[in-house]
Symmetry: C2
Amino acid sequence: MSKFAEPMVRLIDELKKLPGIGGKTAQRLAFHILRTNDEDAEALAAAVRDVKANLRLCTLCNNITDIDPCVYCSSATRNQRLVCVVEEPTNIATIEKTRSYNGVYHVLHGTLSPIGGVGPEQLRIANLLTRLGEVDEVILATSPTTEGEATAGYLAIELRKAKGELKVTRIATGVPAGSDIEYADEVTMSRAMEGRREF
Amino acid sequence: MSKFAEPMVRLIDELKKLPGIGGKTAQRLAFHILRTNDEDAEALAAAVRDVKANLRLCTLCNNITDIDPCVYCSSATRNQRLVCVVEEPTNIATIEKTRSYNGVYHVLHGTLSPIGGVGPEQLRIANLLTRLGEVDEVILATSPTTEGEATAGYLAIELRKAKGELKVTRIATGVPAGSDIEYADEVTMSRAMEGRREF
């Protein structure tokens, strides 16, 4: 017999499925929910349900959105002819924080990973290739990791195949701002030297 | 009265002047030296003396060297028309590790720092300006820190003033190789976007 009533066990089990939530934490969260007022519990349940019911992927860029097309793709003030390709929806926040990018995005939802069984079919590439008609430049902003570089390399070829005159660029790899070159690894330093620009 | 004999106290005091060596460590090192054989103790003393007696700065590039000009400046296989400006002699090792640079160096021995009282006169800039006749490109490889950027900016102006047709470049600031853009701060991400290159 379980040490908790069945609804409690069920809640703990469901909470345990969340990333980084172990048995102890799940139990603490479940007891907090049990003791909280009805409104908060109902609000949490509704929020969980709503996120699944009302969020979907933008048909243009695959960003997670409640309106389709998403805020970026439907914006009249953003440059719709400049597309920045990112791995995950969270990467959009990283680029938006710079306050210096005014184009739109395209979310791949992953990177090529032959070992992980992720091929081009598993990524959302098709709707990028079909929107190139209205696009002047595609910035490949996948991470400078092995998978990110492989994905960028693959995309560059596909993009050129789809539209020969398209400008395809890659974000700079180099020494991070504010850090001493003393701590730069050799690959980063090598890329920083190769990628040097006229001052 | 001291708990150690006077020569021991003197050795501990001298060792304590080294960076990162506190009282306890100095004492441990001193006792190690006391117990070690005569040859090792003599070799250490001689090495300390020699480093001061035989090392100097290269008159061309200010690198620390035992021959003048230094190995880089006197090398027939390195491109003497390409000069990479660095803050400290240790930065040369960082760039050499990339195995992709074949030019020579110029060591500033510091960065501009108005707060720290370091102005252009305190840096070794004069012998950079006088060697430009035989130089095609100067790469400014100071760190992308506030001081490093200020130093690069100052040098770019002085270099152009000294030789108008000189190519002056700056190493790339961007997302470090192998790291996820998720962890890039906004300044680095902003620079990575600005510094994007044709794929």
